[in-house]
């Protein structure tokens, strides 16, 4: 291309007109290029279709019932939609803080940090259409499938939990005794769950616990003989029974009914289903209470020393141990929602622990100056009930850590508390067991749901609801009482949850074991808010500071380690001559004798002989030699 005017060389006007694609009458036109490429590989809906779908979904959701909306939200945000919303709000606050930080003083001035900061600012400055579209698609898909899943759930959820209701004003559910319940209302299958197991009083107050499926119950006496029994709740047959010859402080099943841990006088022991001792956990001494965390395969124990210890039951290693610094502790309970351990102390405080922190996560002053006697947390991790020496049951909101209300008990302090799968609060106090409706957690009720009395059987040592059944087990001095509390068990099984199938056969159990081990969570993932895993770290000034300090510490440690390694590095041995490695290798090769080597040797010998002869010949010419001379002439030498 040439320019006529040299002055105008810098401002060349492009020939736009000529280059523009021809105007098309149709909206789009596919031009097949010479290679024959096509665009028909696109699958799925277009963006416009997605938007349309989303709006229609939203409309249908708005017109659906409250229950349906609740279900959908449960699918979208999990069981704790409230937590998710609070979290989002919190994150937005963090984002704002982040913006301030970038505008104001910087904490990190390294090159990398500066680059990251500038990059982020650039990212924030301009809209990202592609990302927005992606987000919209994701949102639509999620909503669509959440609705589909909630519809599917309608079919799967075959049973509904129901409480006993009074027919008229005269009737009270509290007045309903187990006898009348058994006689008039229960079917035979359920009626057999109402029984009293009278055991020897010297074997002392009994602890009851159930495995996760509710199939097996474990009874452990605190008497000197250390009576332990496992009962199959389906056939009501004794599975195992033995005497440990030591008082048993606490007992619990491990991942399923085939293994159990007993906190005996000195140590913790693990037994199998036949009562054979498998392990002795030496590090756990004088344990008073235990909890098994099923998703992390951890056994948490606390005892006389006030040391909270986490033992991994799959690998056998002690994961972590934390000093509570609050003396002997009897009350330990896990939060089923986030696997955080709650400890109730004698000074009326409750502390929350995770294996990843050597300090408590939260400390609550629950019962001023009165020891905590019992603790229970509901399945969604929303409410905590604490029983204190002041004969009060206090209900706490675990999100705000505020006391909601309290109930008073008579006949003694609440010695054992439990919240069933459906949220029924059971309290054992003195020789009474009182049950409150699920609403009792959220608001104060004036009348309990049910009552049961164990006259002359002393204080209720342990009260535990049986999972997936409307049954509650009460352990006391005289043995075990099993009662029926209608509506206390979750009516629908979740087949994706391991070890919760009460009808599982051996093969299923084994498979569940393997799967559960594969899906085992790391103990460090335990945090107050389980959604924290995989998210961006918090950004308040305290956290940021600590993060920087931790990073610096880490880097320093790394450098230290490197230095140390440098110092400890051994001087490499360097040999010369014969001992050189190459030589050594050569020598090794020498001893190998094969065809080629023999040939070579022969050849070499031949050559040698030739050389010798020629030398002799030369010498013979000179001086004469016997060897060189022909045989006929040899006699002349």
């Amino acid at each position: 291309m040439t320019q006529n005017d040299p002055n105008a060389s810098n401002k060349t006007a492009p020939h736009k007109k000529a280059r523009q694609p021809p105007k098309t009458k149709t909206k789009t036109k596919t031009i097949q290029d010479p290679h024959g490429g096509t665009n028909d590989v696109i699958r799925g809906r277009s963006h416009a279709q997605l938007l349309q779908k989303r709006s229609s979904l939203r409309r249908s959701l708005a017109s659906s019932t409250e229950q349906q909306r609740h279900d959908v939200s449960r699918h979208l945000h999990g069981p704790r939609a409230d937590l998710a919303h609070a979290r989002l709000k919190h994150l937005k606050q963090d984002d704002r803080l982040d913006g301030d930080r970038h505008g104001g003083r910087r904490t990190d001035d390294s090159k990398e940090a500066t680059y990251r900061r500038l990059n982020f600012q650039k990212r924030k400055a301009k809209p990202n259409k592609h990302l927005e579209r992606q987000m919209a698609r994701r949102e639509t898909k999620r909503l669509e499938h959440a609705m589909a899943a909630s519809d599917a759930q309608e079919i799967l959820r075959a049973h509904t939990a129901g409480l006993v209701e009074a027919e008229h004003d005269m009737e009270k559910t509290v007045q309903l005794t187990q006898q009348t319940l058994k006689r008039d209302f229960l079917e035979e299958v359920n009626a057999r769950n109402v029984y009293d197991l009278d055991l020897d009083a010297t074997n002392g107050p009994y602890k009851v616990s159930y495995d996760r499926s509710g199939r097996y119950s474990l009874l452990a006496g605190r008497g000197k003989q250390g009576h332990v029994a496992v009962v199959d709740q389906h056939s009501l047959a004794l599975q195992t029974e033995f005497y440990a010859n030591e008082p048993i402080r606490d007992a619990c099943f491990l991942h399923d009914g085939s293994m159990m841990a007993l906190a005996q006088e000195r140590k913790v022991f693990v037994y199998d289903q036949d009562g054979v001792e498998i392990h002795r956990l030496d590090k756990h001494s004088r344990v008073f209470g235990m909890q098994f965390l099923p998703y992390h395969w951890l056994l948490a124990t606390i005892g006389h020393s006030g040391m909270l210890q986490y033992q991994d039951t799959s690998t056998g290693e002690l994961v972590s141990q934390h000093r509570s610094k609050l003396g002997p502790c009897h009350v330990i309970r896990q939060n089923p929602f986030n696997s955080v351990i709650h400890l109730g102390h004698t000074n009326g405080t409750v502390t929350l622990w995770s294996p990843s922190s050597s300090e408590y996560l939260v400390k609550l002053l629950c019962h001023r100056g009165n020891p905590i006697t019992s603790l229970a947390i509901d399945r969604d991790g929303r409410y905590m009930a604490t029983g204190g020496g002041d004969s009060k049951i206090k209900i706490w909101d675990l999100r705000t850590y505020k006391e909601l209300h309290s109930y008073s008990t008579y006949g003694g302090a609440p010695s054992s508390l439990d919240i069933s799968q459906t949220g029924i609060l059971g309290a054992g106090h003195g020789c009474h067991a009182t049950f409150w409706k699920p609403e009792a957690l959220s608001r104060k009720l004036h009348e309990p749901y049910m009552k049961h009395m164990l006259p002359g059987k002393g204080p209720v040592e342990s009260l535990r609801f049986r999972p997936f059944e409307d049954v509650c087990g009460l352990g006391h001095v005289r043995g075990i009482s099993s009662i029926v509390v209608p509506g206390s068990g979750e009516p629908n099984l979740d087949s994706t949850e391991h070890f919760t199938n009460p009808y599982a056969d051996n093969r299923q159990r084994r498979e569940a074991e393997v799967r559960s081990l594969l899906e085992k969570l790391n103990p460090d993932m335990i945090a107050l808010d389980p959604d924290v895993i995989g998210s961006v770290e918090e950004s308040n000034s305290i956290q940021r500071r600590q993060r920087l300090r931790d990073l610096a510490e880490e880097a320093n440690a790394r450098r230290e380690a490197e230095k140390e390694a440098e110092k400890n590095k051994k001087e490499k041995k360097r040999m010369r001559g014969r001992s050189k490695i190459a030589k050594k290798l050569q020598r090794k090769q020498k001893n190998i004798v094969d065809e080629n080597v023999t040939k070579l040797r022969e050849l070499r010998e031949k050559e040698k002989a030739e050389k010798e002869r020629s030398r002799r010949m030369a010498g013979g010419e000179g001086g004469g030699d016997e060897d060189e001379a022909p045989a006929a002439l040899k006699r002349f030498f």
Partner: protein, 749 residues
């Protein structure tokens, strides 16, 4: 510089030719200008680059549309024969369209089908149509001309026989009619179902109560009608009632003699509302049953119940008061002769008569009060129901009201007591006080009519029973007779009689708020009884709490509580600030043990320590100068140095005092939330917001939700985890085709 070079060249030429520039002619100059110096390489290359760039960018932009499309696509699927572009895939339709009869069997079959007219879809449709048309023709024939029936039927019959479903036998009209009927039926059923559903859904107690009343009334009416028709039924009914009565007597369920009732009575005012209500219901039931039996025995109408009996009594009493000798227990002929003429007998008779009169007066008074009380309780019970029900139920009482009006000089008492019945005990004491006072006096006068009669003989045992029962109700009416202060004293006394409290407190929730209000109003009037009223009010308020909390009610409660606080604290005026605290707070304060305080204090200390540890501004706060440090020690040492103080000029400008960061547990006195960063958990967290996202919330939104099989339907899980690109190994992927940018169609005007 090229231009400069050109000029130099030019001058050189001039010099070499030896010609002056002024003297040169046109031809020469032209010749000189023809060879133009080309632009320098750099410049020309730059220009060409630019043009080339634009051209290529134009070229490339032809792909932009398809690139955008692919980028926004959910999935790119490069597998062959999949998805939208799978025309070549083998499906049933493709196979059918390509089918050709080749073998003998196939050919035979095809022929047979062709003969039957079922070769393909089109043929089939044609055949169907033909048949339909024929059918219609037949219908017309049947309607119009019966003569044609014969041969038409002959043809048709064959067809009908062939038809398995027999759909041909129904005419179109018939079909329409039937369809219409069915639709109507279905609509009606649906309507009924909806109605039922709606009614079943209504959960309110009030609605149920009204419904129940309605049902009862309906049943009664039906029964009455049945009775009118069949006299035998009456006997049956009577027997049934008798049986019920017997049963009731056997069980004694509806008396307060049962164990449960006695226990409730013993517990007195501590009984909660539900139980009280249950007891009153039970008694009412018992009363009703008894009344039924009695009514039938007397031969009076069913609902005339105790009114008739009471009327008799009233009449008798009035007769006695009017000194009607005829109706007295001793006949006149007996009176005039023999023993009765003796002086002492006469005196005795007089005395007896006086006594009887006095008793009659009392009785009258009581009965009237009864009347009033019955009215009030009835109206109380009905007040929440519809007006029609109320008017109906009060109807039978009208007669007795008239009676009372006859006896009493004015009917104001009745009116006021009716009002009393509607609202609460407290309400009446306010509303009707003054009138009542006046009334009471009037009544006293009215009753003071002298008459003597022997009444003892007349009093039947059944009446005695009644009297006992009624006594409880009387208490209420007595209140209405006495002045306000008396009402309250009675109330106070009632505290010992739990049943009375039960009656008085057995009010519907709707009336509670005004009751509490009036209580507070009352407090202003008579301070001596405030405690009692407060107690009652608090009881009421307690009840109210069980119902849904009304803001208004709450206010009243607060008011009452505050007042009670003031009352209790009025003796020590010095401690005025404490009065602001709530009752619970006061109790807590009063009974706080040293251990509690210690625990709290310790907790607070720990919290402060924790706060201090996490506070980044802590170092600024700390005193940097430590006395003694950096100075000599020991005997004879100079005194320790004082901290250096610089003049304001030399001092660094003072920084803004750093504010301690906000903590999560700020403002929560019983909570410590550890703000320590969990290093181990941080492993599973991101330090910065990852690339395409611009805020935490956005990122969180993107990763939120579960995509696994455990939480979704199978289809859902598949969809959500579908890869962005699907391709089979070894597949050659063709380059993207050009696609022009979508243009908007020109606007139409």
């Amino acid at each position: 510089d090229t231009q400069g070079f050109a000029t130099v060249q030019r001058t050189m030429k001039v010099l070499t030719t030896g010609k002056d520039s002024f003297a040169r002619d046109e031809g020469e100059t032209k010749k000189l200008e023809t060879t133009k110096v080309p632009v320098s390489r750099v410049v020309s290359e730059r220009a060409s680059r630019k043009v080339n760039y634009e051209a290529t960018s134009q070229d490339v932009s032809q792909w932009s549309q398809s690139i955008y499309e692919q980028r926004d696509a959910e999935t790119l699927d490069f597998r062959p024969n999949k998805g939208a572009g799978a025309e070549t895939r083998l499906t049933k339709d493709v196979l059918v369209s390509k089918f050709e009869a080749k073998t003998d069997f196939e050919e035979e079959l095809a022929k047979a089908l062709e003969v039957a007219g079922m070769k393909d879809e089109k043929e089939l449709r044609k055949r169907e149509k033909r048949r339909l048309v024929r059918n219609d023709g037949h219908e017309d024939g049947a309607d119009g001309f019966s003569s044609d029936d014969g041969d038409e039927n002959g043809i048709q019959g064959e067809d009908e026989l062939n038809d398995d479903l027999g759909s041909n036998r129904i005419t179109l009209e018939e079909y329409k009619k039937r369809h219409g009927e069915l639709a109507k039926m279905r609509a009606l059923l649906f309507y009924e179902e909806q109605k039922r559903h709606r009614i079943n859904k209504i959960k309110s107690k009030k609605y149920r109560k009204i419904r129940k009343k309605q049902r009862e009334r309906q049943k009664e009416a039906e029964e009455a009608a049945a009775l009118a028709e069949d006299p035998n039924l009456e006997r049956e009914q009577m027997e049934k009632d008798e049986m019920e009565r017997m049963k009731e007597r056997m069980t004694l369920a509806h008396k307060n003699t049962s164990k449960w009732a006695r226990r409730v009575l013993r517990r007195g005012k501590n009984v909660d509302v539900e139980e009280r209500r249950a007891l009153s219901l039970q008694l009412a039931k018992g009363e009703e049953l008894r009344r039924k039996v009695m009514g039938l025995e007397n031969g009076a109408a069913g609902h005339e119940d105790s009114g008739g009996e009471e009327e008799d009594l009233l009449k008798k009493a009035r007769d006695i008061l009017m000194d009607n000798e005829e109706d007295a227990g001793v006949p006149s002929d007996v009176k005039s002769k023999g023993l009765f003429q003796l002086e002492f007998m006469k005196r005795g008779m007089d005395a007896q008569r006086n006594r009887a009169k006095e008793e009659a007066r009392k009785l009258l008074e009581e009965l009237e009060a009864n009347e009033v009380a019955a009215m009030s309780t009835d109206s109380e019970g009905e007040s929440e129901n519809e007006n029609s029900i109320k008017s109906k139920s009060t109807k039978p009482k009208v007669a007795s009201v008239v009676e009372i009006e006859k006896v009493l000089p004015d009917g104001e008492l009745v009116a006021s007591s009716l009002q009393f019945g509607k609202s609460d005990r407290f309400a009446i004491s306010i509303n009707g006080n003054i009138e009542l006072n006046a009334n009471a006096e009037d009544k006293e006068e009215a009753i003071k009519v002298e008459s003597v009669c022997d009444n003892d003989v007349e009093e039947t045992s059944s009446f005695k029973k009644k009297k006992r029962k009624k006594k409880q109700k009387n208490c209420k009416s007595k209140e209405s007779n006495s002045p306000a202060a008396e009402v309250i004293t009675e109330e106070y006394e009632e505290g010992h009689n739990p049943w009375i409290v039960n009656v008085s407190n057995n009010t519907n929730p709707g009336n509670r708020a005004p009751a509490a209000k009036s209580a507070s109003a009352k407090q202003r009037v008579s301070s001596s009884w405030t405690l009692n009223i407060n107690e009652a009010a608090s009881m009421l308020v307690d009840d109210a709490e069980t119902d849904e909390i009304d803001a208004k009610r709450k206010r009243v409660e607060a008011e009452v509580e505050e007042k009670s606080n003031e009352e209790s604290k009025s003796d020590d005026k010095s401690n005025r600030g404490v009065a602001d605290l709530s009752q619970a707070e006061l109790v807590k304060r009063a009974f706080a043990s040293p251990a509690d305080l210690e625990a709290e204090e310790e907790f607070q200390k720990e919290k402060d320590r924790m706060k201090d540890r996490d506070d980044p501004t802590r170092q600024n706060k700390e005193e940097k100068f430590v006395s003694g440090w950096g100075s000599w020690a020991g005997a004879g040492a100079p005194p320790p140095k004082k901290p250096k103080t610089f003049s304001s000029k030399l001092c660094a400008p003072e920084k803004k005092p750093a504010v301690a960061p906000k903590r999560k547990d700020d403002g929560m006195s019983t909570v410590i939330i550890n703000e320590k960063r969990l290093k181990k958990t941080a492993k599973y967290q991101l330090a910065e917001i990852p690339h395409p996202y611009r805020s935490r919330a956005e990122y969180e939104k993107a990763i939120a939700g579960n995509i696994g099989q455990e939480w979704n339907t199978i289809h859902g899980a598949k969809e959500m985890s579908r890869p962005a690109v699907i391709v089979r190994a070894g597949k050659i992927i063709k380059p993207i085709a050009k696609k022009a940018k979508a243009r908007r169609a020109p606007a139409k005007f």
